[in-house]
Amino acid sequence: MAETAEKEQKKYTAKDFQSDQDVRWCPGCGDYSILAQAQRVFPDIGVEKKDIVWVSGIGCSSRFPYYMDTYGLHGIHGRAPIIASGVKMARPDLSVWVATGDGDLLSIGGNHFIHACRRNIDIKILLFNNQIYGLTKGQYSPTSEFGKITKSTPWGSIDYPFNPVALALGAECTFVARTIDRDPKHLQTMIKAASEHTGTAFIEIYQNCNVFNDGAFFHLTEKGKKENNVVVLEHGKPLIFGADNDKGIRLEGFTPKVVDISNGEFSRDDLLVHNENNKDDVLAYIFSRMTYDPDLPTPIGVFRKINKPTYDSEMQKQIHTSIEKRGKGDLDELFNKGETWVVK
């Protein structure tokens, strides 16, 4: 099968992953880019179309499966990670992907999300984080900034946002990444990286909802701003950013600080070097904490990537072990278990 996939895969182009459905997001929505990048990357992930399942919940973002020419299940609000887990447990041979929104995954679906992470079940979760409820027309979400004025919070929201990366780390997720709708190349790289991970892979994608939360990420996406506000995490490389790659991140104690590496005071060697596989994932945690710090750039890239056996493979293993030990189940034997007697 791997071989067939190999052969098959050569034939695919982005177009092969376009379904026959009209795409119905608002013109200008960031979701279009995510769709386009996924369609561009999928020919390269080495899986046949027939073996791919996209699962989603409810929300604008959750319409995603309709547009990918793979198998698709548009579920109910918040349940995508667990429906996807069911697909994967029943059929570990499938490649299972989740498209979800910040309301879908982190509000109503929060529990399924953290449990999926904990189990390390081999599904890939793409969070379209637009910091707003799109489909229900603009209420604040669990990632909206404090004080946000929306239809449901005319006086400003009063709860603090989740930091999705920190939450995923706290829930033991083995692959945690972040990227942005308006950085197509980086977005592609992250989707590819997720496809290569075995275990729960979580990508937070900053996505512009141009109707209800336009510009939420412009400081990270627009020319002239993004250079100073985004730092790209790359395994084994120091944290450098700035329009002229003139800035870096140094650790003072546990506190990341921005330093200038253009004036000779600090050099590349003084900078923090990223290690995705850091066992204790303290680094990943420190990076996650940079997110809402106004004095620091926002990190994108892979925060953490470690390997441990997945839930689905362990489940399959127990089935095999059990068959090995007990032989393939025999119904008659099962029926006759325990004390029996015969009536003549």
Binding site: S19, Q21, E48, K49, K50, D51, I52, V53, V55, I58, P65, Y66, D69, T70, Y71, G72, L73, H74, G75, I76, R79, I82, I83, S85, G86, V87, K88, M89, A90, R91, D93, L94, N111, H112, H115, M315, Q318, I319, T321, S322, I323, K325, R326, G327, K328, G329, D330, L331, D332, L334, F335, N336, K337, G338, E339, T340, W341, V342, V343, K344
Partner: protein, 617 residues
């Protein structure tokens, strides 16, 4: 047999059936005692029916009334339908056990107490001011005070065991005594002891001795002058085992999965009294059974839906509060038309209610508990045995009609046990599954002309990629559609698909004459009590008949016709009148309810009285 030799010159009476209730502290091993007596009686050829009665607390303080654990067995030489309305014999290890169970002992019944259990402390805990054994408050009964603890200790004296261990053997003494009294074979228990304690020879010896001491005590003491014989029942020949409803249900599911060549996937979250379905199924991994303890009930059913979508046999099992949580997701399964079996082992409610008690009050929830028009198939098992059959049926219907099926059971039959004639796997009807593979003209919502089922096209099939979801779907294509006429069409299809199942299920069967004064229509676990009542009433020449429904949605096609032939229709239910509401509405028959919501099953006698009252007019 061993115990045959020990019979001296005591007289032996023959009885048709007997009900014994074993009761003691949670730590006294009453469940074990009961199940050993059950096996022995089964091997003696009786028909039987048993019911355990757990306390709600895990391990309540010793001696308290709320810590009493009991086990009732009803065995006989005739067909036995229930664990018995009242008991003939109460074995009480302490005052609390006596106090709690006395009200269920028949007038003139026998009480056997462990004398040592009646300490001042225990009497006080049970709320007795004075020792009831010492006054004449029990004069209605035959009391036998036996020094069970002491006699057990005597028997084990030279084994040098700790007093705790010795005390733990006293239930075997009681068991031995009952074996003597009812002339049961002790070999099954002897071999059980050997297997159970295979690494602890001292416990084999201790328990064996206690058992035999009890047996011999019956023989020797002058307290007991009579033994009883309960002859073998006329049972269909075959191999038998004892089975609870929950085990039968689990086996039915595994069998159906095997006979349909599907991998069973159970998503479940523990809840009393459904947890045993999870426990059972989690052992059957070599049958390709996957069990998943989910984070909650919503996750459990959602994972099962995912599994069904992927081509597995998605199952979930729960009880009332968990059922409520699953309803939104079940609505999705109705919309995407996937097979799914939801077992609801009902318990007392509302809300958390009475988790360890039985009730039949989730029929409405099963029928109507979803948003909008979300019809599905509802089945109900009526006995522990029937749990096997209806679980099998649930799978058959779910995969054939691509629909969720709710299977109702309840705490009473889930934990109750009776002999099960073991089927041959090869005799079970094969369940045919066709996963379509031909992409030509494939449409995910193109329906089978007869069943109206849509095709079950699963991931991994080349060139059949398609999408399903909970928004209204366009006929045939399954695309999202907000079109008015299409919506009406799809609502009608979903309704009719379920209605057509009526062509595929057995007609309702009338027990008794097909016309007359009164028809009792029952469903679920009330089967035993109703059957017992009707049998007795008919023996007395009453014009009553009985229909027991196992298919609740759709109802059997001949049901209306049957009902119109009776003057009165009585629907006994352990709820406030749920089936009767449905029957009245659908058939406009003036069915009246007989309703009891006490966490307890009906007694046959209660039903008899009620029926006689109606017959008197």
């Amino acid at each position: 047999m061993d115990n045959n030799n020990s019979t001296q010159d005591k007289k032996t009476l023959t009885l048709e059936d007997v009900v014994i209730h074993f009761a003691g502290d949670s730590g006294d091993g009453m469940q074990l005692t009961g199940s050993q007596f059950t096996t022995s009686s089964a091997i003696a050829g009786n028909d039987l029916n048993t019911f355990p009665d757990f306390p709600a607390e895990i391990r309540a303080p010793a001696g308290t009334t709320y810590g009493v654990s009991g086990f009732q067995i009803h065995f006989g030489s005739r067909k036995i339908h229930t664990p018995g309305d009242t008991s003939d014999v109460l074995v009480a290890m302490n005052p609390a056990a006596l106090r709690v169970n006395l009200k269920h002992l028949r007038d003139g019944g026998t009480i056997i107490v462990n004398n040592q259990g009646f300490t001042p402390k225990n009497l006080k805990l049970a709320g007795y001011e004075k020792n009831p054994l010492d006054d004449d408050s029990l004069s209605n009964y035959q009391i036998h005070r036996v020094d069970i603890s002491k006699l057990t200790a005597n028997a084990l004296e030279d084994l040098n065991l700790g007093s705790k261990i010795v005390d733990r053997c006293k239930n075997f003494f009681a068991l031995g005594l009952m074996y003597w009294m009812y002339n049961r074979p002790i070999e099954p228990t002897l071999s059980w002891i050997k297997v159970k304690f295979k690494n602890k020879p001292e416990l084999i010896e201790a328990n064996t001795r206690a058992l035999k001491a009890g047996l011999h005590y019956g023989d020797i003491t002058e307290i007991f002058t009579t033994r009883y014989e309960v002859r073998p029942a006329k049972l269909t020949p075959g191999a038998y085992r004892n089975i609870t409803g929950n085990t039968a249900l689990a086996l039915g599911l595994v069998a159906a999965a095997q006979k349909s060549d599907l991998e069973l996937f159970l998503g479940a979250y523990p809840i009393t009294p459904a947890s045993d379905v999870l426990h059972e199924l989690s052992q059957f991994k070599n049958f390709n059974v996957k069990t998943f303890q989910a984070e909650d009930e919503i996750a459990a059913v959602s994972a099962a839906i995912g599994a069904s979508y992927a081509g597995g046999l998605g199952i979930t099992a729960t009880s009332g509060p968990g059922m409520a949580l699953k309803m939104e997701a079940i609505g999705l399964a109705v919309m995407i038309e996937l097979p799914l079996v939801i077992a609801n082992i009902q318990r007392g409610g509302p809300s958390t209610g009475l988790p360890t008690k039985t009730e039949q009050a989730d029929l409405f929830q099963a029928m109507f508990g979803r948003n909008s028009e979300a019809p599905l198939c509802v089945l109900a098992a009526s006995t522990p045995n029937d749990c096997f059959i209806m679980a099998y049926e649930a799978v058959r219907i779910a995969v054939k009609y691509m629909t969720p099926v709710i299977l109702l059971s309840d705490g009473y039959i889930a934990n109750g046990a009776e002999p099960w004639r073991i089927p041959k796997a090869s005799d079970l009807e094969k369940i045919d599954i066709k996963f379509p593979t031909n992409p030509e003209n494939f449409l995910p919502y193109k329906r089978d002309e007869k069943t109206l089922a849509r095709p079950w096209a699963i991931p991994g099939t080349p060139n059949m990629q398609h999408r399903v979801g909970g928004l209204e779907k366009e006929d045939k294509t399954g695309n999202i559609s907000y079109d008015a006429d299409n919506h009406q069409k799809m609502v009608d299809y979903r309704t009719e698909k379920i209605e057509r199942i009526a062509n595929d299920i057995p007609d309702a069967v009338v027990h008794g004459d097909i016309e007359g004064e009164l028809l009792v229509v029952g469903w679920g676990s009330t089967h035993g009590a109703i059957t017992s009542a009707i049998e007795r009433l008919r023996l007395n020449g009453k014009s009553v008949s009985h229909v027991h429904l196992r298919y609740l949605n759709p109802l059997p096609k001949n049901l209306g016709e049957i009902m119109y032939n009776f003057k009165n229709i009585l629907v006994p239910e352990l709820n406030k009148g749920q089936l009767s509401t449905i029957l009245r509405s659908k058939y406009l028959v003036p069915a009246i309810g007989y309703n009891k919501v006490q966490g307890l099953p009906f007694k046959a006698a209660e039903l008899e009285n009620k029926i006689e009252e109606i017959l008197r007019g």
